[in-house]
Symmetry: C2
Subunit: 338 residues, 2 copies
């Protein structure tokens, strides 16, 4: 009894047949009943299971898809992930998650490393897009769809949200409910969503004649609760806002927490609204008004685009956008006093 895993050769020898026959019965091709019998019993006598690596080398398919996200702790990716999984599982693919932190180098290594190898296709949602990433995307031959804005000439399928529209809806909503000093706790502005949201915020404030002094603007160095807590203190103290928009739900949650600790009531003193409309928004107290950027829909579309490209690798890259929708909850209700 050799120590290493049994191979198809060993099974063949043990069953007294050829390797071809073993492969055939294991893949359910036409064979005689007694052949099936011999091979099957030899196989599970030895505890054989095929080497996936060797198999995919030959057939050039792995039956796996990779989904790369920036932060598994962010519920927005959970939504996307579920949608992607639901869509791709039906086609028999296994889904592999991979969490690249905030560092673009990670994404890059993924694009070059895993990209050509362990998966038949890739969905990625990079938070920072560097020139190197763009370049790698140009060069990539693996079917790929990216979630998030990329330059129009990058030849991959693309689905994106309308961040700017979302910010606009949020600010208009706050304006309509009487808020005038609206703060913005953004994520890092060297990220794709960060920069889009910053720009949009400035524009809509200008249009509505709202103040945009620096004291009303804060930038967390990550789209996380911890980073939000670090950054929001100043905004609250120096900006004296009557409303705060969070760059995503996590930042909004951090804002609520900081407000509570400092004795400000939400929404009576300060309204808070988030972005992404994740499950988090429903569990906080008060529940969080949030603008949905369609994470589930984006995941679904990304999966569909990927599956279509898998079927037809040569078709034109497509790009689709999904529209935002405001979900009003308690954190932005009208003041009860006033």
């Amino acid at each position: 009894m050799s120590s290493s895993r049994p191979t198809v050769q060993r099974v063949a020898a043990h069953a007294g047949v050829s390797v071809a026959s073993v492969s055939r019965v294991l893949n359910g091709l036409a064979t005689s009943p007694e052949m099936v019998d011999k091979v099957q019993s030899a196989a599970d006598e030895l505890g054989y299971s095929p080497n996936a690596m060797a198999r995919s080398l030959k057939v050039r398919r792995t039956e796996q898809l990779a989904f790369s996200v920036a932060d598994v702790g962010n519920p927005v990716y959970v939504d996307m992930m579920r949608a992607v999984e639901a869509e791709t599982r039906a086609e028999g693919y296994r889904l592999l998650l991979s969490s690249t932190g905030p560092d673009p180098a990670e994404v890059l290594s993924l694009l070059r490393g895993l990209a050509h190898g362990y998966a038949d296709g890739l969905i990625l949602s990079p938070i920072r897009v560097t020139d190197e990433i763009i370049e790698a995307l140009h060069a990539i031959s693996l079917p790929t769809v990216v979630i998030g804005r990329i330059p129009p000439d990058v030849p991959v399928d693309n689905v994106r949200a309308n961040s700017a529209g979302g910010v606009r809806m949020a600010v208009e909503h706050l304006y309509e409910t009487g808020r005038r000093r609206i703060g913005f706790l953004n994520g890092p502005t060297d990220t794709v969503p960060g920069v889009a949201r910053a720009r949009a915020f400035g524009r809509v404030c200008d249009r509505l004649g709202l103040p945009t002094d620096d004291a009303l603007l804060a930038e967390a160095d990550d789209f996380t609760i911890d980073a939000g807590l670090d950054a929001v203190g100043d905004l609250i103290a120096r900006g004296e806002p009557d409303a705060v928009l969070g760059g995503n739900d996590l930042l909004a949650v951090a804002t609520m927490q900081a407000l509570r600790e400092r004795g400000h009531a939400v929404p009576d003193d300060v309204a808070v609204v988030g972005m992404d409309d994740t499950e988090l928004a429903t569990v906080t107290a008060p529940t969080l008004t949030s603008v949905s950027l369609g994470s589930t829909r984006r995941g679904q579309l990304a999966a569909q685009l990927l599956l279509e490209r898998l079927r037809d690798p040569d078709r034109e890259p497509q790009r689709v956008a999904v529209q935002p929708r405001l979900r009003v909850r308690d954190s932005s209700r009208a003041r009860s006093r006033s």
Copy 2:
């Protein structure tokens, strides 16, 4: 220009050298400077990147580790994941997440499918453990560590929490702060953690002389917020508890939400405590008392065990346990009236 990806043969031809030389310079083995030059320029002229599949077939390593969790939406797995990732990244492994839903068949397919192929090692945290899974674990040759209780004779490394101890701490804490009708919103009792926690709850209540009528017991059919909301209504209405223990933080959050909707104050009318002490516990209002089962520590230990086994495949399987710790927050403070 051929359409398919360039191979080592092609860059060899293009550089006018042998494939062996190409492989050598690409792997940084000893070669002359001019050889390095020729190969390098040929390689990136063709945009060559090696086929990971073929490579790992030969060297029998993928440099990848797989971590399989039941529900990516559960923050407890996020904690574990981060810990595992931190530990394994240092050794140069890439971490692949894979989300098997609540269905044991998924785990099984993972154990047999991905198990022998795309990863050098596997960490899994199955929520249900069937005979088939036990059997597959006996048969597995891939280095594997499971997080969660398994029968003692299963020959894989194992790290587990002390659920029972955790439940005990939670209930004692509630008892000491004056609660007498303690409800329990558990997850499914056909799961490993579900059954352990149910048993422990019964025992500690008996010991303390607390009532355990059926009206105080509820069982959600998943460890999620939605399932919790479905199941907790009855418990609140019929059980009239003055405290509720959630089988995990998600169930506790669901409980708080349901209580709020029905006009009960937390903690004044009803105290709530969760288990797992996830990030969620800090963002709710009131903040959630929760017993930490050491998710980060468990992830860390699991990763270390796996790495050790990777270095020495023949050593004895180890099993370690991590102890719970109660984290008191606002949701279980003493009543202010009374």
